[in-house]
């Protein structure tokens, strides 16, 4: 892809619109045909979509049930806890964008996203207020990060490390009982986007180390460990996620000693984690295979132990190589969490189904599903955008 720097700037660089159009739209007769067909299709699709969104669709069902879509049956008076950790996350995102995003002009736009959301969607006054606070928090985080990037690096990383426990702890409650300050909120009340988010985050956090271990196991010199890893990976990858979720819901209770019960949400989390780990293992293995043998030998020759070699030399390089693939896998996991609706959990899709059973909103499938599709799309796209930023920052993906 190396381009030769011309001695004189080529004349065509100053092409006008017409020339551009001739080159890119009407290069030949079939090119022109394709252009016209494409343009017509675009017009048709966009105009009918716009007509439906603006005139036909009845969006009241979304407005009235916004709370259900977002947090399910989570008690409203405890919702401040969710806003709290959301603020914490946004603050970290702001910090990270400032430190690692190196002045990307999209950073600020991204941080203003909550404010956009607040007005683009029919939220109540309370959530709107919180969303604005979030946007401000993100900007403050960004400002602080920009002011002292080097000093903050460590604490931001520490912040990310503790973020999952913080999220889980705040969501489930600080005290063991259902009274007192920040009381316990049972998982059956977690729902909507909140549940989808938690399933995703927990799935990612736990499947990642398991996946790395499985990948290492698959490349182990110990045959039994290797066989086990291969068997696990191939078995899990060979079956649909939905069957694993069914197994987790219907069979897991059977596998446990009598008297042990596992929370249904936890069961789904276990199922998703075990499923995702097998896929991650294969991705990580790809990275491991790309590391030259000399790296192992050099580490060994320096006297590093097997574990030290893996932790300091091999994994950092291997994981960096596969970041784009890993993020792709995480996005897939996020989208796949919707399958828990089929086993009766109130995730975004499950909530959509129960909302559609409300007597006053029967028959509004298209509105409801369009809305949750939008949520899925925005979040997935956001994840892949962030990963592209990360790739650029870490210098991978450019060949």
């Amino acid at each position: 892809m190396a381009t030769i720097e011309p001695a004189l700037p080529p004349v065509t660089e100053r092409s006008n619109i017409l020339r551009w159009a001739r080159k890119n739209l009407f290069g030949s007769w079939y090119d022109s045909l394709l252009t016209i067909l494409g343009a017509w299709f675009m017009y048709w699709a966009l105009s009918s979509l716009a007509r439906w969104v603006i005139t036909t669709a009845e969006w009241e069902v979304v407005a009235v049930n916004m709370r259900l879509f977002m947090i399910g049956q989570y008690p409203l008076e405890q919702a401040w806890r969710l806003w709290l950790w959301l603020g914490f996350l946004v603050f970290l995102v702001g910090n990270s964008l400032a430190i690692w995003g190196k002045g990307s002009r999209y950073s600020v736009a991204l941080l203003l996203f909550p404010a956009v959301l607040a007005f683009a969607f029919p939220f109540g006054d309370e959530p709107r207020k919180w969303l604005l606070i979030l946007a401000v928090t993100g900007l403050i985080g960004w400002g602080i990060g920009r002011a002292r990037p080097e000093v903050l690096k460590r604490s931001v990383i520490a912040g990310w490390v503790i973020s999952l426990p913080v999220i889980i702890l705040l969501t489930r409650g600080l005290s063991a009982s259902e009274t007192g300050f920040a009381p316990f909120v049972k998982t059956n009340l977690w729902g909507g986007l909140l549940l989808t988010f938690l399933l995703t985050v927990v799935g990612i956090m736990f499947s990642f180390p398991i996946g790395v271990l499985l990948a290492l196991g698959r490349r182990s010199v110990l045959p039994i460990v290797r066989w086990f890893s291969v068997a696990y990976i191939e078995l899990v990858r060979g079956v649909p996620l939905i069957s694993i979720l069914f197994m987790a819901q219907l069979m897991l209770p059977l596998f446990l000693p009598e008297g042990w019960t596992v929370d249904r949400v936890v069961r789904a989390m276990v199922g998703i984690t075990l499923f995702s780990a097998a896929y991650l293992a294969e991705n990580v293995r790809g990275g491991l295979q790309a590391i030259p043998k000399g790296q192992f030998e050099a580490a060994e020759a320096l006297g590093l132990s097997g574990a030290q070699t893996m932790i300091f030399i091999i994994l950092p390089q291997a994981l960096r190589l596969v970041i784009p693939i890993l993020v792709g896998q995480f996005i897939a996991l996020f989208k796949d969490t919707s399958l828990v609706a089929i086993v009766g959990l109130f995730d975004l899709v499950g909530i959509a189904q129960t909302v559609l059973a409300q007597p006053e909103f029967l028959g509004l499938q298209r509105e409801v599903y369009a809305f949750i599709s939008l949520i899925f799309w925005v979040l997935s796209y956001g994840m892949s955008y962030l990963s592209q930023q990360l790739e650029v920052r870490l210098g991978v993906g450019i060949r």
Binding site: G72, K186, L189, P253, L254, T354, A357, P359, L362
Partner: protein
């Protein structure tokens, strides 16, 4: 070398296509029939025999220790079990759970609703994941025996009906010859439909759906000529179809559908508690005790049965393992049957269903409570 596999693959595909065309009309193999017969015997012999999983009083003890009741409910049936926009469960089945919690704890909020799918409801009950199943479940012999549950007294008498568009001209089930019927899977409804149609000799195509929403959405879009489910469901669903007036419910009852709560085999105390909570709701209506006047009644009641029921006399509640005022709590906190019914299925709701069989025996219905003595 490589291309030889492509040609082999093409050969294989052709072979498949040819065999597929060739098997357009396979003769039914006679041996399948005999096979079926032999196994029927086998199935009955290997039918799961449910051993008593719990002993007397175990469930109540567990519930008391836990501090709340776990109630398996539906989350997708308007009027019976769904989540309203405030995130609260609502419906007649849901209110029964609240009544039970009121009877046990004197607090109708001490109940955890666990939405269960049709597929997992019995497993969930057997495995102890839920204490009671209150999810529009039809009482049948098989469920009473093989599935290891006991049905508490029926809380809603239903019957399977058939709804068709008015302009279709269909008046009887026979008119559905060659038509398509929308039905929900995994339910007795699906089996009843097959039974009734087979006995009438009507051929039809079922369009089977995983949940009620999909079933009625499909019907509303004209995917089927008719839709079948419990009549209550038909009535409530009709009210929210785009053009309710254009749909009629055929005057046939394809089955009896007594819907009621279900508990596990083996804990008779728990069964009694669940049972008498239902009767407390019935008797409340019979004696005219409502949540509004229950305190006055308790202060002024003279009729011995009312006094016994409200815990002023005797120790009926203690006999159940509860407090004496359990029925008072039920009515005070949840209301009597009429209140519960009207709240969820009454004339002021979008899901209005006339009382019909679900009236007191004094009004010609089937609601009849044994005496509180």
């Amino acid at each position: 070398m490589r291309k030889s596999y492509s040609i082999l693959a093409i050969g294989a595909i052709l072979a498949i296509v040819l065999t597929a065309c060739g098997t357009a009309a396979p003769a039914p193999a006679p041996e399948t029939v005999t096979k079926v017969e032999t196994v029927v015997v086998e199935v009955t012999s290997s039918a799961p025999v449910v051993v008593a999983p719990t002993g007397y009083g175990v469930t109540l003890k567990a519930v008391m220790e836990r501090g709340n009741l776990i109630c398996g409910v539906n989350s997708q049936v308007p009027g019976f079990g769904y989540v309203d926009a405030n995130g609260n469960f609502a419906g007649i089945d849901v209110d029964y759970c609240r009544a039970l919690a009121a009877a046990i704890f004197g607090d109708p909020t001490k109940v955890e609703f666990r939405p269960v799918t049709a597929a997992e409801r019995f497993t969930a009950l057997q495995s102890g994941e839920i204490d009671i199943l209150s999810r529009n479940t039809t009482w049948s012999l098989v469920r009473d025996t093989e599935l290891g549950g006991n049905f508490v007294h029926t809380t809603f008498y239903d019957g399977q009906g058939m709804m068709v568009p008015k302009d279709s001209g269909i008046a009887t089930l026979q008119d559905l010859e060659g038509g398509t019927v929308c039905v929900q899977t995994g339910t007795t409804t699906e089996l009843n439909l097959a039974d009734v149609m087979a006995s009438l000799g009507v051929t039809y195509t079922p369009a089977v759906f995983e949940d009620a929403d999909a079933t009625f959405a499909a019907y509303a879009e004209g995917r089927c000529d008719a839709v079948t489910t419990d009549k209550s469901g038909l009535v409530s669903r009709r009210s929210v179809l785009p053009d309710p007036a254009n749909h009629v419910i055929l005057d046939v009852t394809m089955s009896k559908e007594p819907l009621g709560p279900m508990v596990r085999h083996g804990d008779d105390q728990w069964f009694d508690i669940a049972q008498w909570t239902v009767f407390a709701l019935f008797s409340g209506e019979e004696f005219g005790i409502t949540s509004a006047n229950v305190d006055d009644m308790r202060a002024s009641a003279t009729a011995p049965e009312v006094r016994r029921m409200l815990g002023l006399e005797g120790d009926l509640g203690l006999k159940l393992g509860l407090t004496n005022d359990f029925a008072y709590n039920v009515i005070k906190m949840v209301g009597n049957y009429e209140e519960v019914y009207n709240r969820n299925l009454g004339p002021d709701t979008p899901t209005y269903i006339p009382r019909g069989y679900n009236s007191l025996y004094t009004d010609g219905g089937l609601l009849y409570s044994p005496p509180f003595r």
